[in-house]
């Protein structure tokens, strides 16, 4: 027995010795190869002139003949030479490579930002089409000027609060001037609250990279603002709209956006508390859409329903919009703009895994498609007809829901997320109208609020860990994974984000709009509302050549009778 044991021991020792020797041989072989290469290959000096002839650039005579095939244009001749006396150096070449990468990313981010800006047109005509013709000028003017009010507020202070501490933004050259985040130490951790650089884009933030970030973030912020105008349409006083929009662009939106995107505490939940990669919201289901949708809910509660929307027993009346053509055209414009919204949120098309832009774009497409399927199926099965406006809302719901997860999920998950969103928007519209008895003329609360929150949660469920955009997300190494791919902590981070949206963002929006309601008054008079807001609020009809017929009063009640009921109530409330 002992002999056998000795024999076994000897065999193991010999085996280990053999393995050790083999491992040493392997490591010395692999380690010596680069050393040999390094020692034998001469390292060129950065300022040494390069032999340009090796690149065989076309001669001036060749170029003068034209280049119909595109094979001679864009050669070594086009690299900027810093010192003509020396000629092209290695330094020139590598600097050009670096600048090219940043230039590609600048161009990508700016162009996608322009696409997002064009979404304002989509929102404007969707909302106007879903409203009655007598309010068309007013609704268009809200959507038109929310751009100006929002931009102004964001330039003055919103951008600084949001992105003032976001540096370094590697894909855009660093944006290093944005390097100051106001933090507090609480419960043994550091909590980023808001940025402090970039007010008026002045001082050191007069920087090319900062300008690109500003433009891109500004159009996102404006999208959130324009969501609110839909929920309060047909009864919102224009002056109150202006004040409310400025506040949202300056304070509400930037604060949450800082916490999620600007280096604030939500983004640090992974680093500080080990919750996945912290709150992850790729393109803004939460930051943009849920903020807009929850503010819309706060305002719709404060401002109350339109006259005639609900009967005395609380049952709702349909108040159909005046132009389904522009509604669906607007939905298409928005779907087009979403190709800027989501793929553009890589802030890059070169490096750091940014080639996932194709995947992000396809995910966006798929979720929009299945969203419209979901809504169409729901309406068809429940009401017997494939309702056009709800199908359009289904498309938007799918797009809203995929906005946060678009950079982290695969196409199958995108389709599932969109399909659920399509059903969810229909159920939510019914719940808001029939149970809450809140009047939302365009379905903004359901499309953007409900599905924005669903999008945030879906990151915590479906993120598949296939992408990390340069090695880490929110300072945590590795890729974002949801519950279904093994990281329940990510779902907790997402739920804390949802809680912050529902508790903090809604609370702040409600408080701010309540103050505005008390000071300025949010709602137009009942007489103006019944007449239509185009003349009383804007001074001109949208369709002066058309004869508008009164519609949408409670069943069996004329417009005059509705006014007789509504006007004394309104006056009583104003004087109370």
């Amino acid at each position: 027995m002992s002999r056998i044991l000795k024999l076994c021991s000897l065999t193991i020792v010999l085996l280990l010795c053999g393995l050790s020797a083999w491992a040493q041989t392997q490591s010395s072989t692999s380690g010596s190869a680069p050393a040999t290469a390094q020692s034998s290959a001469p390292v060129p000096a950065m300022d040494a002139p390069l032999n340009v002839k090796m690149a065989q650039p076309p001669s001036t005579d060749d170029l003068a003949k034209g280049d119909p095939g595109g094979t001679k244009t864009g050669t070594v001749n086009d690299i900027i030479v810093s010192d003509p006396n020396k000629g092209l150096t290695l330094s020139d070449t590598v600097n050009q490579v670096g600048q090219n990468r940043i230039a590609i990313n600048f161009t990508w981010t700016l162009i996608t930002g322009f696409l997002v800006m064009f979404m304002q047109a989509g929102f404007a005509i969707v909302e106007t089409g879903l409203c009655r013709a007598k309010n068309a000028n007013h609704t268009m003017m809200m959507n038109f000027m929310v751009y100006g009010f929002g931009l102004f507020a964001f330039w003055v202070c919103g951008f600084a609060l949001q992105m003032g501490g976001c540096a370094p933004a590697g894909t855009l050259g660093g944006a290093n001037p944005l390097n100051s985040e106001h933090t507090i130490s609480l419960l043994g951790k550091t909590w980023g609250l808001y940025g402090t650089r970039g007010f008026f884009l002045s001082g050191t933030t007069y920087d090319v990279g900062v300008m690109v970030i500003f433009l891109f973030q500004m159009v996102f912020m404006d999208t959130a603002l324009t969501i609110v105008t839909g929920a309060a349409a047909e009864r919102w006083k224009y002056a109150a709209f202006a004040v409310s929009s400025v506040f949202m662009g300056a304070i509400t939106y930037p604060l949450f956006a800082n916490w999620a995107w600007g280096g604030g505490w939500l983004s640090q939940l992974g680093v500080n508390f080990g919750l996945g990669h912290g709150y992850a919201d790729f393109a803004g289901s939460g930051v943009v859409h849920a903020v807009g949708g929850l503010t819309a809910l706060a305002l719709a509660l404060i401002i109350g329903p339109r006259i005639g929307k609900f009967n005395r027993n609380g049952t709702p009346n349909a108040m159909p919009g005046h132009d389904i053509v522009i509604v669906l055209t607007g939905c298409f414009i928005l779907a087009f703009g979403w190709f800027g919204f989501n793929p553009g949120s890589t802030l890059a098309a070169s490096g750091n895994g940014a080639l996932r832009i194709g995947s992000v774009a396809v995910n966006t497409m798929l979720a929009g498609c299945t969203g419209s399927f979901g809504a169409l199926l729901y309406m068809w099965m429940r009401y017997g007809k494939p309702d056009a406006s709800m199908t359009g809302n289904g498309l938007l719901a799918g797009l809203v829901a995929i906005t946060a997860p678009s950079g982290f999920v695969n196409p199958v998950s995108s389709a599932i997320i969109g399909l659920i969103a399509g059903f969810l928007v229909c159920i939510s519209v019914e719940y808001v109208e029939r149970v809450l008895k809140v009047d939302d003329p365009v379905g903004a609360i359901s499309v953007h609020g409900t599905n924005g929150l669903w999008g945030v949660i879906s990151v915590g469920l479906f993120a598949d860990g296939a992408s990390n955009y340069g090695g880490s997300w929110n300072g945590v190494n590795g890729s974002v994974r949801g519950l279904f791919y093994g990281d329940p902590g990510q779902l907790v981070a997402q739920l804390i984000g949802v809680g912050t949206l529902v508790g903090f963002v809604f609370g702040l929006s409600y408080a701010a709009n309540f103050v505005i309601h008390k000071v300025v008054g949010q709602r137009v008079s009942a007489e103006d509302e019944l007449e239509g807001l185009d003349i009383p609020e804007m001074g001109a009809l949208c369709y002066p050549d058309f004869v508008l017929k009164p519609t949408s009063t409670p069943a069996g009640v004329t417009a005059r009778e509705a006014a007789d009921v509504a006007i004394p109530m309104h006056v009583a409330r104003e004087t109370a």
Partner: protein, 60 residues
Amino acid sequence: MKVLGIAMAVLGWLIPVATLVITQSTTARMVICLLGLALSLVGILVVLNKGHLKEAIWKA
């Protein structure tokens, strides 16, 4: 009633945030998050909304 509704909404947000430092358990954190979210939603959709429905324009 409106103040109570808003207070519930804000409390439903603060509780999960505060408990981040109390427990390390992911399950416990998730349960507390869901409870907080439920509190916020009840505050907004039930309590606050009820406050507004009391004076709804269509009830006259």
